[in-house]
């Protein structure tokens, strides 16, 4: 769980992403993708949605066919929405710059992470594209050992080895020592704080000593997943053409970090600075426009994985979903995102593009501020019955049909039903609080409220007994929270309006308020932040993406750094810590099940991330398309067809 995933969540709503790549015509993909490729052929023939993703509920449209005859070369133009544009190149990304776009759609083309997220839409480490083999845990889980696959090398010829991992960890420690804000994914007490020592026990083997044992899935997916090896022989300098320093000496590490991050702040030199030309990823940066984030990349001949076959990758930005869609209509993009708001016109591009979409892991929700004392809100929202009532007021099916144009899946808790996850709890499969104005009204009535439809509902039975309004709610108290939502994309506003309209029918007056995403995340994202605490009651900035191991650690546990609303519940805390430290593989399901029932936030539909992929594009590996929806672009597998 990390900051970039928050920033990410808004982007996801505006939903423009997707790497471009060309895969080698040859090369049958690996076992894990076998089913993928086989179904891909059927899919190519039937053209209907199919395959691993095809069977997934919530798949919108048709996945592009794979395995078509390839031709080399070609320029892939890839559309991204403005604001989703990359603005940081150094793998240790500070909070301010932390977004999926910087990592998955920019840096990971250049610098391959140690472990690569999903396999298509299956929440597993993808061994084929990961830089290291799966780790082994010993010493009661307190020792982790993993080895880098040989064959990967930096573009300056040096091999990618254990030192590059240690270099990263040392630099990361130096960075977070300076300021927590220097690493967006930093959570105090967790990586790298929980690494006592990192040693190269072989040229390619790294052994980590941990402070304590963890749930292995958690540690592998959520902690080791943060590591991106860096060229320890090229970047270990503190000034241009300066001496190569021993980064294991903390002082040097700090000096190096300062130099590299300072270089990373000079966006205008990204394409020219020799530092950033030392890469181990499939691509190499050739031009970069700081203000728009538009960039051009060419294949990196030294890439140790699948050799890229197209000749150039261009990232272009747009100001509005329509602007991007117009370009799709004009056929000027190879891959571009499609917003729900333009789905009605999708037929205009279906001749040229395969259009498909899926939700990604994680959840979208409007967060309650449990510390906003304005109008007794904190007391009111602390009442389970009220949270349940609010859940009853949300007509997800209608939203999906009317607003999302069908391109979304109902979601009732932190772990949704689509894409399918082994962790999805039973109670999240059917809506525990189905849309029903009367149900909501009854819940209120039975707890001492006088419900005035389209008027103002009042508390008439203050007190703490069952059937009373509850602690801290005085007589004649009303329910009138202020709800903020991001002004772009429009879908959030429309959803909020529909919700507020429903609430009005039980006398709950929600004052809506649109703000930019940045404003909400930078001002209304910390419960109890004295400056703004009482300014917001509900905040729908989007939601969170989940890592492969979807614990809500940091989100719903007391004091979690992304616990926006200050939700605090003993049971929840216990269940979350089980997921993180316990060995029970079901712990995370139990956690999700409890939260689904408790409704610590208003869970909203999991929207699809819809892509238009030119019919001239194919891939050797279907997952490389479906993974787009999970922000796991694998350009190396993509190619233009004959």
């Amino acid at each position: 769980m990390s900051v970039y995933r928050i920033t990410d969540s808004l982007r996801r709503r505006t939903s423009k992403v997707g790497p471009i790549g060309v895969a080698l015509a040859a090369a049958v993909t690996l076992a894990s993708c076998g089913s993928g490729s086989s179904t891909a052929t059927t899919q190519a023939s039937t053209g209907s949605s199919a395959g691993t993703a095809g069977s997934v509920p919530g798949l919108y449209g048709t996945l592009p066919p794979v395995g078509l005859p390839a031709k080399s070369g070609g320029v892939i133009t890839f559309g991204q929405l403005s604001g989703t544009n990359p603005n940081y190149i150094f793998p240790i990304v500070p909070a301010a710059n932390s977004s999926v776009y910087n990592l998955y759609e920019f840096e990971n083309y250049l610098f391959v992470p140690l472990y690569w997220g999903t396999v298509g839409t299956i929440p597993e480490i993808n061994p084929t594209v990961s830089l290291a083999n799966m780790p082994t845990y010993s010493n009661g889980g307190k020792t982790v050992t993993f080895s880098i696959k040989p064959g990967y090398s930096w573009s300056n010829g040096a091999p990618v080895d254990a030192n590059d991992v240690i270099f990263f960890i040392d630099e990361l420690k130096a960075a977070v020592k300076e300021s927590a804000a220097n690493f967006g994914n930093y959570t105090p007490g967790f990586f790298p704080d929980n690494v006592v020592s990192a040693t190269a026990t072989g040229k390619y083997t790294v052994t980590l000593q941990l402070t304590r044992s963890y749930n292995t899935s958690f540690f592998t997916d959520n902690e080791l997943g943060l590591i991106t090896p860096m060229p320890s022989t090229a970047w270990n300098i503190a000034s241009a053409n300066g001496p190569h320093l021993d980064y294991t000496v903390p002082a040097n590490a700090t000096a190096i970090y300062n130099y590299l991050s300072q270089q990373a702040n000079d966006l205008s030199t990204y394409a020219t600075n020799p530092l950033w030309q030392v890469v181990d990823g499939p691509m190499r940066l050739t031009s970069f426009t700081p203000s728009t984030g538009a960039f051009t990349m060419v294949p990196n001949p030294h890439f140790g994985g699948h050799k890229v076959q197209f000749s150039e990758l261009q990232g272009v930005t747009f100001t509005s979903v329509q602007a991007e869609f117009n370009q799709l209509i004009a056929g000027n993009l190879t891959v571009g995102g499609v917003d729900f708001s333009v789905l009605p016109q999708v037929s205009r591009i279906e001749s040229k593009y395969n259009v498909y979409g899926l939700p990604d892991f994680g959840f979208q929700a409007a967060f309650y501020n449990f510390t906003d004392t304005t109008g007794n809100w904190s007391s009111e929202i602390s009442q389970l019955y009220l949270r349940q009532a609010l859940a009853h007021l949300e007509d997800q099916t209608a939203y999906i049909k009317g607003l999302y144009k069908g391109a979304a899946v109902p979601d009732y808790g932190p772990i949704g039903v689509s894409p399918p996850s082994p962790y999805t709890p039973a109670n999240a499969k059917n809506n525990p609080y189905p849309y029903s104005i009367s149900a909501a009204a009854n819940l209120l009535k039975s707890h001492g409220w006088k419900v005035v439809p389209n008027g103002t509902t009042e508390c008439v039975k203050p007190g703490t007994a069952s059937g009373d309004c509850g602690a801290g709610i005085p007589l004649h108290a009303t329910i009138s929270p202020t709800m903020f939502y991001t002004n772009s994309p429009p879908i959030l506003g429309e959803q909020a309006q529909a919700f507020a309209a429903a609430a009005k029918q039980v006398g709950i007056n929600i004052q809506l308020n649109a703000k930019t995403f940045n404003f909400l995340v930078s001002n209304y994202s910390v419960a109890g932040a004295p400056a703004n605490n009482n300014k917001w009651a509900i905040n729908d900035f989007g939601g969170f993406s989940a890592a492969d191991y979807p614990t809500t650690n940091n989100i719903f546990n007391t004091g979690g750094s992304f616990n926006f609303g200050g939700y605090s519940d003993a049971t929840a805390n216990k269940l979350i810590s089980n997921s993180v430290y316990g060995s029970n593989p079901n712990a995370v399901s139990q956690e999700a099940s409890y939260l689904t029932e408790q409704q610590p936030a208003l869970f909203t539909p999991a929207s699809d991330f819809i892509y238009a992929v030119s019919k001239s594009l194919s891939a050797t590996n279907e997952n490389s398309f479906s993974a787009l929806t999970q922000f796991q672009p694998l350009p190396q597998y993509w190619y233009f067809t004959k």
């Binding site: 509005s320 979903v321 329509q322 602007a323 869609f325 117009n326 917003d339 708001s341 333009v342 009605p344 016109q345 007509d395 209608a398 939203y399 049909k401 009317g402 607003l403 389209n454 002004n487 772009s488 429009p490 506003g493 429309e494 909020a496 309006q497 529909a498 507020a500 309209a501 429903a502 009005k504 029918q505 004052q511 809506l512 308020n513 649109a514 703000k515 930019t516 404003f519």
Partner: protein, 321 residues
């Protein structure tokens, strides 16, 4: 030059040759000042007359009145639920039950048009009033006191006027959430500069007119000069200005709305309704774009028509002096 011949000085049309009967040469009565017509026509009435003669103005007035009725009386005649729309009915094309279809949230577009119009007209009007009041006072003070203060005050105007209105308004709008009041204030507080200049100019030109000197000669004090002579005469300029201010404000709302800084649910103005115009057109939801767009243009145009006509008619009166 004083002795400039008065060719073209128009005698009052109300005086058709004040004839008196036959007379003996030499006994002309100096006490015959000629006839005076029976019907009184005040400056305003004259203005109104020439206004009424201006077809465009009448059209403009008609349009404006129509929209005022449409927006304020309309909802009482044509009932539609603007509080809770049915999302399942979103984006319906015009048809039975929904003459203008429905919008993304399933609100009836015709009803929306009325409600949105109310906000647009109100904001336009309030903003105009705010701007004009501030501007008039500022300009009057600056013009009346003159001297260094005038210089400084006008430099201040220059400064703010040099900064593009829209930019400032947008920046401020990022901070304050849109309500009719806040938008009126934001728009009004940055639009007073033009009226300020106008009024100042008018006051300056009035200050040196003979009738002001005449009042001074009678021993009239400063306050009397200002409130009996200068301001009343500058008033016409003010009034003309208001109409243009309204037009500008409504356009500004449209821009704010389009860029996503408009009003908040449940309130809506025409600008907000256009915020998704780009996609709506693409989707072929023309009914979400053209009705509101055309209404907006018509109202703005109406204001401009009226403004121009007023200006002309006021000029007429001043020309006739």
């Amino acid at each position: 030059m004083e002795e400039r011949e008065t060719e073209g000085v128009e005698e009052s049309p109300l005086n058709l040759g004040g004839g008196i009967g036959p007379f003996e040469p030499g006994i002309t009565d100096p006490l015959d000042g000629g006839e005076v017509d029976d019907t009184v026509t005040s400056g305003w009435r004259l203005a109104v007359r020439s206004f009424a003669e201006n077809k465009l103005a009448i059209v403009g007035l008609g349009i404006l009145i129509f929209f005022v009725l449409f927006c304020y009386v309309g909802p009482h005649v044509y009932h539609s639920n603007q509080i809770s729309g049915n999302v399942l009915n979103s984006d319906l094309p015009p048809g039975s039950g929904h003459p203008l279809g429905t919008d993304n949230n399933g609100y009836d577009e015709l009803g929306r048009l009325m409600v949105g119009g109310q906000a647009a007209l109100e904001i336009g009007f309030f903003a105009a009033i705010i701007a004009t009041v501030i501007g008039s006072l500022y300009g009057a003070i600056s013009g009346l006191i003159g001297g260094l203060l005038d210089g400084v005050m006008m430099r201040i105007v220059d400064v703010i006027l040099s900064i593009p209105y829209l930019l400032i308004v947008l920046i401020v709008a990022t901070r304050y959430s849109g309500t009719v009041l806040s938008l009126s204030l934001i728009l009004g507080l940055f639009a007073w500069l033009v009226p300020a200049r106008l009024i100042r100019g008018e006051v300056l030109s009035l200050r040196v007119r003979d009738f002001v000197s005449a009042a001074k000669v009678m021993g009239s004090g400063r306050t009397r000069l200002i409130f009996r002579h200068l301001l009343p005469n500058a008033l016409s300029v003010v009034i003309v200005n208001i109409t243009f201010q309204v037009a500008d404000a409504i356009i500004a709302i449209a821009l704010l709305g389009f860029l996503g800084f408009g009003l908040q649910y449940p309130h809506v103005d025409w600008g907000d309704m256009l915020s998704t115009a780009n996609t709506a057109l693409g989707n072929g939801y023309w009914w979400l774009v053209y009705p509101v767009g055309i209404s907006l243009i018509l109202v703005v145009m109406a204001c401009n028509f009226i403004g121009n006509a007023l200006r002309d008619s006021v000029d007429v009166r001043l020309r006739r002096r």
